[in-house]
Amino acid sequence: MTTDPRPLRPGRPKPWNDPRVRSVVFQILAIAGVAWVGYTLFHNTVSNMESRGISTGFGFLNETAGFGIIMSLIPYNETMSYGQTFLVGLMNTLLVSGLGILLATIVGFVVGIARLSSNWLVAKVALAYIEVFRNIPLLLQIFFWYFAVLGALPGPRQAVNVGDIAFMSNRGIVLPKPVFEPGAWVMGTGLVIALATIVVLAIWARRRQAATGRIFPVLPIAVVLIPGLPLLGYLLTGGPVSWDVPSLGGFNFRGGITAIPELGALLLALTLYTASFIAEIVRSGIVSVDKGQTEAALALGLPARRVLRLVVIPQALRVIIPPLTSQYLNLTKNSSLAVAIGYPDLVNVFMGTTLNQTGQAVEIVAMTMAVYLTISLAISVLMNLYNRAVALKER
């Protein structure tokens, strides 16, 4: 009996039986299939639109828009292009989403903590707020604030007058506008220096506290320094800022800065609606922190306020952040309900008016979808980064 000197090895299977080869082939086929479907859909759309005499392409972005927009953060008038209307709408969407996220977070945290208060009245008021605002459709809330609350304000001629410089009417809130004259850069520099000083101070104070345990009062210094330095600059340069005070002329107020009621109604509705969800998320986060943590911190002699700030909330954040992210995304997407009350956001200005004037639905809808997708992904990325920073570090 002879033995084979070669070690026993499984022979290479035929390629069509090799699971690795098969999986790669199928994946390539699947990708090719998806790409083919995508290409054909695109090609079909373009050729069908051409055969029906519908204009295509992005050339319209350079054409003159010819319509007015009530509110713009960047320079805009009727003689500018459709491309500019896109930017105006985008900025307005970012403004209302950004402010909405900021305010909803603050209100949500306050209400969420109040919901757990040992004070019966505070806890019940927070509960009532959450249940009311969470269970009424957002669109109804927007209409409520717009037509019932802000619409009930008096007209511009009977406006609520605050010391002859600010006015509140159903056309919005009009405030004096600062006009910066030459020399105002000194104030700007003062602000930058103040901010930089506070940041450096905060880092130093943190290190010192870690090393010695002594606390340095950064906050009071910041409160004095941040308005103080620009004010010093203002006084030194002899007041390089004048105020454009609004006054009633003709139909409306002229001059000043106007915050339109559409922005106010949308912001109120988005903030209060989303905050009610955030409050519940915050409450669930706090409840998820073991009671022993609080008891241990209290046993160490920490005051209740610091127990919350230093022990409970940092641990609660791990539970809070992921669902909070989706609330931020919801708020941003919900801001497109602006169209119902005429706030000039991206959907109203670009997908409404611009689409209608040009008729280029496919391009404009695609651009608008791309914008919302980009904003949402950006929020997700930022929140995931933050989540990684506060997540439990496993060693």
Partner: protein, 339 residues
């Protein structure tokens, strides 16, 4: 696995074939479906508005019903699809509706770049301004600095900007997505002025909480010929929709109306005979029955009847014929002859 892939491929091919289907004849499609799909405004008194039973009435609605009467012999064989200004062209382009009759202004851009054809004008309109009487304004040239409510996606927005710029005046445009919302904004005093086509202003005025508190200014700042629209590239259907309206205008000119149409068939006026199909083959060459106009006139009436019933002086809208009178009466309605 392979089976799944093949199924997927088949499904995808089917989907694409559907997207790429050849352009069918709208006339045949309407006959096969047994009803006309008509895009109308989502509520504009006098032009298109559903009543509490869901029956649509209005000038734009009757324009569609006339087409249904001509093609299907039944003025009620219409499915009305309410559309906002922003949705209307896409709905027509995508084939969701067969004809768009939604107080739509005929402009170069819309005619040339949207793949659409305007078949004619069922109402000659112009843009005007509605203001609160209390403001004491009696001319559009005194509107500097006013806040203006208007509807998104209309020629109105552009005319407004042109008018104020040309006259070196400032304005603040508050843009809503439906005409009711813009009227509500005006009613709530969000704006000093409501601007739209004057016929619409007359209609929206009736919906204000106090209609008598608002007046329409005398200035008309634009030309707004409103009419039905069809898809480009289907000339047969284009002709049908076009000639039904021409037929109604011609009928009024020759004194044919819903009360006398049965006697008029025996008229010895050759013009009337050709319109009503007693002579010639006008219906046949359009792809319809020769007596299609008899059906239209007996069910809907001629243009004048359609006008008076929906927006005329005896209705709450109370519009006079004005330029929409026949050319023989000093207006500009002038339909090509049936010959």
């Amino acid at each position: 696995m392979k089976k799944t892939m093949i199924m997927f491929g088949l499904a995808a091919t089917g989907l694409l074939a559907l997207g790429a289907q050849a352009q069918a004849s709208t006339l045949e499609d309407v006959r096969d479906a047994g009803q006309l799909r008509c895009g109308v405004s989502n509520g504009l008194p006098g032009f298109s508005q559903p009543d509490s039973d869901g029956n649509w009435t209005g000038l734009d609605v009757d324009t569609c019903r006339a087409v249904a009467a001509a093609v299907l012999g039944d003025a009620n064989a219409v499915e009305f699809i309410p559309l906002t200004a922003a949705e209307r062209f896409t709905a027509l382009q995508s084939g969701e509706i067969d004809v768009l009759s939604r107080n739509t202004t005929w402009t170069t851009t819309r005619d040339a770049s949207l793949g659409l054809n305007f078949t004619g004008t069922n109402y000659y309109d112009g843009q005007g301004f509605l203001v609160k009487e209390a403001l004491g304004v009696d001319s559009a040239y005194d509107l500097d600095g006013a806040a203006v409510c208007t509807q998104a996606g209309t020629t109105t927005e552009l005319n407004l900007a042109d008018f104020f710029r040309a006259n070196d005046m400032e304005y603040e445009a508050v843009v809503f997505d439906t005409s009711e919302a813009s009227a509500q904004g005006f009613d709530n005093n969000r704006c000093d002025i409501l601007t739209s086509d004057t016929s619409q202003l007359a209609a929206l005025r009736t919906q204000l909480s106090d209609p008598d508190s608002a007046v329409i200014l005398p200035e008309v700042i634009s030309k707004e010929p409103l009419g039905p629209v069809v898809r480009q590239g289907d000339d047969e259907w284009f002709n049908v929709v076009k000639w039904v309206l021409f037929g109604q205008i011609n009928a009024e000119e020759y004194g044919v109306d819903s009360t006398n149409v049965d006697e008029m068939v025996d008229s010895n006026n050759p013009n009337v005979e050709r319109i009503l199909g007693a002579d010639g083959n006008m219906g046949e060459i359009l792809g319809l029955n020769d007596d299609f106009m008899v059906e239209v006139i007996s069910e809907i009436g001629n243009y004048g009847e359609m006008f008076d019933r929906n927006v005329g002086p005896d209705t709450p809208i109370g519009l006079s014929r004005g330029v929409n009178a026949l050319w023989t009466d000093g207006g500009i309605l002038y339909a090509p002859p049936f010959r």
